[in-house]
């Protein structure tokens, strides 16, 4: 092939000029930014650059936030008509769209996810959640939740670091639409977009105290969970912390929704469209570095196509670009924190020691920051820890099955039940499998698709309650079946 060319791609970095990051941030309480006392750094996980100093909320700060939320609830927000509340939500949604690029760049800097994902997934979906719930605000009596559903009061919301702004939207938009006020704590390692959202609340002239944002670590989260002035706890995070929260609120009047871990089975039947399936497998586990509670982290392959699928999957993985999250061509960015990287490394090592076979494409990882190459383990059995525990990283465990019944049995053999995937071109098989699987979300011939109209949540240890859709409204209204 004498004239064969090499085809190199140039870097295509997104500019960070659009964001202004302050050297230090306080809390957002009663419509104003108030200074914190103690601070901790938030860093860019792609290069360990310190981006800003973040306030660590203590008891006094959480008390002030809850007080502001209660005042706003009693005096303003619960009295306002749904139509008026809806106007504020629409306004917030529109401002988020107008400032989408700013949010996307900030999210990528603070989280390490590729700009392509923050720009095309996180931020548009976050705005979509506000638009969707804005529409519900004046129609709650038609949501099938009783003739005059009432808000719960003050909601304490604790969100994770994997989709910072999107998880904020999942929590804040339905709470506000239903007439609640909120005290929200973003994750310790990704507070910046929540603080930018606070500016959006000011810009939208949202009444003071309707949204309060306190930053901090697990100790701040505990103060919110145990605060007597809070009526409802909404948490997204690990099953471990979810259990602590469930114990803490059990003897109280607080209602609670938990969106926890997962170990989703992504099942490939032998009649699946293989090339599409490979794209779906890659999307299922390497999207957002695998920091996805509903990630397709257990790949179940029908044995007669296993070799072909693995061959094509490995070829496809050779093309994944890992590196600078701000580059518009990057597929997989940085692991969010040093702690998370250590956890992924530890579990992968367990995979080795338990006898699974590890494979990664050749890829050069940056020297600074937190990185883990896309990895698959083959020869995995149900007994392996990497088939049972959530790794929350770009690591795929591959198992095989011979009959559809075996696939279902293996898929359901887990304490989790958040999501599952089915790959088959036969409709009857897909419908049958989806009825057997014990998972809150089931995707057929696709994976990791999200929409504000669709309820999201888990079976078993993956959580309580649903977020999104009509079902998600039930988590923020009184007089519904779960109370």
């Amino acid at each position: 092939m004498e004239t064969t060319m090499t085809f190199e791609y140039d870097p295509a970095p997104e500019s960070r000029a659009i964001v202004t990051i302050k050297p230090k941030y306080g809390h957002f309480i009663a419509g104003k930014f108030v200074a914190g006392s103690k601070h901790f750094p938030t860093i860019n996980p792609a290069n360990e650059e310190v981006l800003s100093q973040i306030a660590l909320a203590g008891k006094a700060d959480v008390d002030a936030a809850v007080k502001a939320a209660r005042k706003a609830y009693t005096n303003t927000w619960s009295k306002m008509s749904g139509k008026e509340r809806g106007k504020y939500l629409y306004r917030i949604a529109r401002i988020m769209q107008e400032r989408a690029r700013e949010f996307a760049v900030l999210e990528t800097l603070d989280n390490g996810k590729p700009i392509r994902e923050s720009r095309d997934t996180d931020i548009p979906l976050a705005a979509a959640h506000f638009f969707y719930h804005a529409g519900w605000a004046d129609k709650l009596e038609y949501a099938g939740l009783g003739t005059s559903p009432k808000p719960l009061g003050v909601a304490g919301q604790i969100i994770p670091w994997n989709f910072p702004l999107l998880m904020l939207a999942w929590k804040v938009a339905p709470a506000l639409a239903a007439g609640n006020t909120v005290v929200l704590k973003p994750a310790e390692s990704t507070p910046l977009t929540a603080l930018l959202f606070a500016e959006v609340c000011q810009q939208a002239e949202l009444p003071a105290g309707v949204v309060n944002i306190v930053t901090g670590d697990g100790s701040t989260g505990a103060l919110i969970v145990n605060h007597p002035g809070i009526d409802k706890i909404a948490f997204t995070g690990s099953t471990e912390v979810g259990k602590i929260i469930a114990r803490a609120v059990a003897p109280t009047n607080k209602s609670v929704t938990l969106e926890l871990g997962g170990k989703a089975a992504n099942i490939v039947f032998d009649d699946a469209p293989i090339d599409e399936t490979v794209e779906g497998i890659v999307n299922g586990i390497f999207f957002n570095q695998g920091h996805v509670c509903c990630a397709g982290s257990r790949l179940l392959l029908q044995e007669n196509v296993a070799e072909e699928v693995l061959h094509k999957l490995k070829n496809r993985m050779e093309k994944i670009r890992v590196g600078d999250p701000m580059d518009k061509n990057t597929d997989v960015g940085a692991i969010n924190s040093k702690e998370q990287l250590a956890k992924i490394i530890e579990l992968a090592a367990v995979g080795d020691s338990e006898g699974a076979e590890r494979w990664s494409p050749e890829c050069k990882l940056p020297s600074k920051g937190f990185w883990f190459a896309p990895t698959i383990f083959t020869g995995v059995t149900q007994a392996h820890r990497i088939a049972r525990e959530e790794i929350f990283g770009p690591v795929l465990s591959v198992l095989t099955f011979r009959t559809p019944a075996e696939a279902i049995e293996k898929a359901n053999n887990t304490p989790f039940g958040l999501s599952a995937g089915i790959w088959s071109e036969k409709g009857s098989r897909t419908l049958w499998a989806s009825q057997q699987l014990r998972a809150g979300v089931i995707w057929a011939n696709t994976f990791n698709k999200f929409d504000p109209t669709s309820p999201f949540g888990g079976y078993k240890e993956s959580g309580w309650g649903r977020e999104g859709g009509r079902h998600g409204l039930a988590a923020y209204l009184k007089g519904v079946s779960h109370e």
Binding site: M1, T3, T4, M5, T6, F7, D275, K319
Partner: protein, 216 residues
């Protein structure tokens, strides 16, 4: 016309430039087999080194795959080793990706050197997803047989940016071995003008009006 082209190329020192001819009742493919064979034979006799045949879409869509296959085999025999054979699918008429993949395998198994999306007379033509499906078929055929088949998207690629997207598809699906005119070509006369205009921009810094490049 093949003869005219060959004669003029030879006159101006273009002996190394092969002449390609469309054939088999291009673009519709609606003629009897003897006519298609004669059409091809005439072009080769006049000096054509490449034959662009069209498949019979009517037969394909009616499920008469074996007829489509046999036609390609017969034209392949006429071409022999004198002419390179490209098989045009007219993907805009096949409509579905399943059909495009099926047609790709049919043509490759029947002896095509190249598979080509379109005649240029029907839209949509060489859309990136259609080209991806053809490249995947070529990649899978290569893994089965170790034979490299060429791919030619034609129609609808109007500017340099579109062309770069096609090159990325090739690079990431079948690999850099295919980034070679023997295995990958783009058929698009409008593209040439944009390429010229991009070159002019590199020289003088301005993206000019298309009136400064010739239409043909």
């Amino acid at each position: 016309m093949v003869g005219v082209a060959r004669k003029h190329l030879d006159l101006i020192g273009g002996q190394h430039v092969p002449v390609a001819a469309v054939s088999t009742a291009f673009p519709s493919g609606r003629a009897s087999m003897p006519v298609k064979i004669q059409d091809t034979q005439d072009a080769i006799d006049a000096g054509a080194a490449e034959i662009d045949m069209v498949i019979d879409r009517g037969a394909f869509l009616a499920g008469r795959y074996i007829d489509v296959f046999n036609e390609i085999v017969q034209i392949r025999q006429v071409c022999g080793d004198k002419a390179h054979l490209k098989v045009i699918f007219e993907t805009g008429e096949l409509v579905t990706y399943d059909n495009v993949r099926k047609a790709s395998f049919l043509a490759m198994a029947a002896g095509a050197d190249f598979i080509k999306t379109s005649t240029g007379k029907v839209a949509p033509a060489a859309t990136p997803p259609v080209v991806l499906v053809m490249l995947e078929a070529v990649r899978d055929f290569y893994e089965m047989t170790q034979v490299r088949i060429g791919v030619k998207p034609a129609g609808g690629i109007r500017n340099t940016k579109d062309a770069i997207k096609q090159l990325v598809l090739v690079n990431e699906t079948v690999g850099p071995d295919w980034l070679n005119p023997k295995l990958f070509r783009i058929g698009a006369s409008a593209l040439l003008n944009d390429l010229l205009m991009q070159r002019m921009k590199m020289d003088d810094g301005y993206y000019t009006s298309p009136q400064y490049v010739t239409m043909d």
